[in-house]
């Protein structure tokens, strides 16, 4: 049915009326996109919109993963029986070996708890974990993220640390009701406070964004750090519990020509090839060490204390 309403009006019929020109439309939507990027990057305003879209596309995402899962199941089905038996034997041996360690661990835990209560300090290793399965790696070739199948429905929050069997994997950065995005340690500018297991030297390990490596910046050129040193979390930030393996130093470059030592480390956790991860569900900053300097608080105690604390809490 042709729309003839324009014939009634006294204006000329809109023969070639196509609305705004393509250039005007590009300008409008380009500016909208730039505004959205600005709001998302600087102010984190659009998290609600992101949540809504992610819930809407969740069924599609799950459906498109099924070909891969089908492939995995098929190959599992046809896998060699001898290999399965071998795996089974290996796992049994590991179980026996580790059960001995676990028993020792239980007694050590009891001893540790006893000593902590003697010292009157909070139990900082009391962390609960939530097992999550890796659904897929990020589709964005520019970022190092993985998506796991636990979300706000299971109590996952932004900022929670994520580990696997060998070390820290990263941190939850975006949560939706059914899934969560984990930013890996090697993501550019992803920082984690560490301490050198051998000497107790404190430092910060920062992701480089490529080559599966971390950098440890701002260490003086005479710092006592060597190849194969283990970096563990220091727990200073209140996000990562202390004592988790983070990375091992792979390269140290020190010399008079450099301002700081150039330290490269390789993450302990298998960042690209794990299936199950543990999300540590102790809320971040729950156990922030109370070693703040007192002097500034005396100077301005007109209700600015809380805002200052808030700022410090955000720092890694």
């Amino acid at each position: 049915m042709v729309d003839r309403s324009h014939l009634m009006a006294h204006e000329p019929p809109p023969f070639f009326n196509r609305g705004p020109s393509p250039t005007a439309r590009l300008a409008f939507f380009g500016l909208m996109a730039l505004a959205a990027m600005f709001a998302d990057l600087r102010f984190h305003y659009l998290t609600d919109l992101r949540q809504v879209i992610s819930v809407l596309i969740y069924p599609v995402e799950r459906a498109m993963l099924s070909p891969l899962q089908l492939f995995g199941r098929t190959t599992d089905y046809f896998s060699d029986q001898r290999r399965l038996l071998q795996d089974n034997d290996d796992l049994k041996r590991q179980l026996v070996e580790q059960s001995a360690m676990a028993q020792r661990g239980a007694s050590l835990d009891a001893e540790y708890a006893h000593l902590r209560t003697l010292l009157g300090a909070a139990d900082r290793l009391n962390t609960k974990g939530l097992l999550a399965e890796v659904v897929h790696v990020s589709r964005n070739p520019f970022s190092h993220k993985i998506v796991v199948n636990k979300g706000t429905n299971e109590g996952v929050m932004q900022g929670l640390p994520v580990i696997d069997g060998t070390g820290v994997v990263g941190q939850v950065t975006t949560v939706t009701p059914f899934s969560a995005e984990v930013t890996l340690l090697i993501e550019k500018d992803q920082a984690i406070p560490v301490t050198l297991a051998r000497t107790g030297l404190r430092a910060i390990a920062v992701g480089t964004g490529n080559n599966n490596t971390l950098q440890v910046p701002f260490l003086p050129t005479n710092a006592d750090i060597r190849k194969d040193d283990l970096l563990v979390t220091s727990g200073i930030d209140g996000t990562y519990p202390p004592g988790l393996a983070v990375a091992s130093v792979s390269e140290v470059e020190q010399g008079a020509a450099l301002l700081f030592s150039k330290v490269t480390a390789i993450p302990s956790a298998g960042l690209e090839n794990h299936r199950y991860l543990l999300i540590l569900t102790t809320p971040p900053s729950a156990d922030y060490p109370k070693t703040e300097p007192i002097a500034p608080e005396i100077r301005n105690d007109k209700g600015e204390r809380s805002s200052r604390k808030g700022k410090r809490g955000g720092r890694p």
Binding site: R25, F29, L49, R50, E61, R139, P141
Partner: protein
Amino acid sequence: MNARMPTPEGVIRNPIRGGLILGTLFAGFCLNLLPWAGNGLLVRPDLLLLMLIYWCMHEPRSVGAASAFVGGLIMDVAESAILGQNALTYSLGAYLAISMRLRVLRFGFWAQALHVAAVLLLVQLLQLLENFLIGVPLPSWLYLGRSLFGALLWPCISWLLELYRLQPRREEISR
């Protein structure tokens, strides 16, 4: 059908239905969500963008910058990129497609694919620029393979949809 002349004279094509447009766009989006990783992810063509360009060229009154913007926002969430990154690049792709459609559609499919490759490449350069400004390290040069494979897919997509549009409808057969 004649692959060198995509618009045969004297043939009336079936009208495009909204369902076909939505269906192909949705299919492109679904294929984008397939779990690629590593180098496969780097060279995987952006099929949603390709379908948007197709419909911007063939049905510019239904699909334009607005559809590209919305599709880009959805893709941003799916890629966990910053909201607006793909919206911006898709809008540019839609603009380029609409502004060159009258010329490009006169060519055969492979010549069309060359033009589409240029559009895809420009879109990718804008994507690289965005990520460069955000401060993300650039991926390897294999990333540009996306444009190449996208352009190679163009004749297949065009041919399939052309077949669909030229086939006689059921009501015409029964007459």
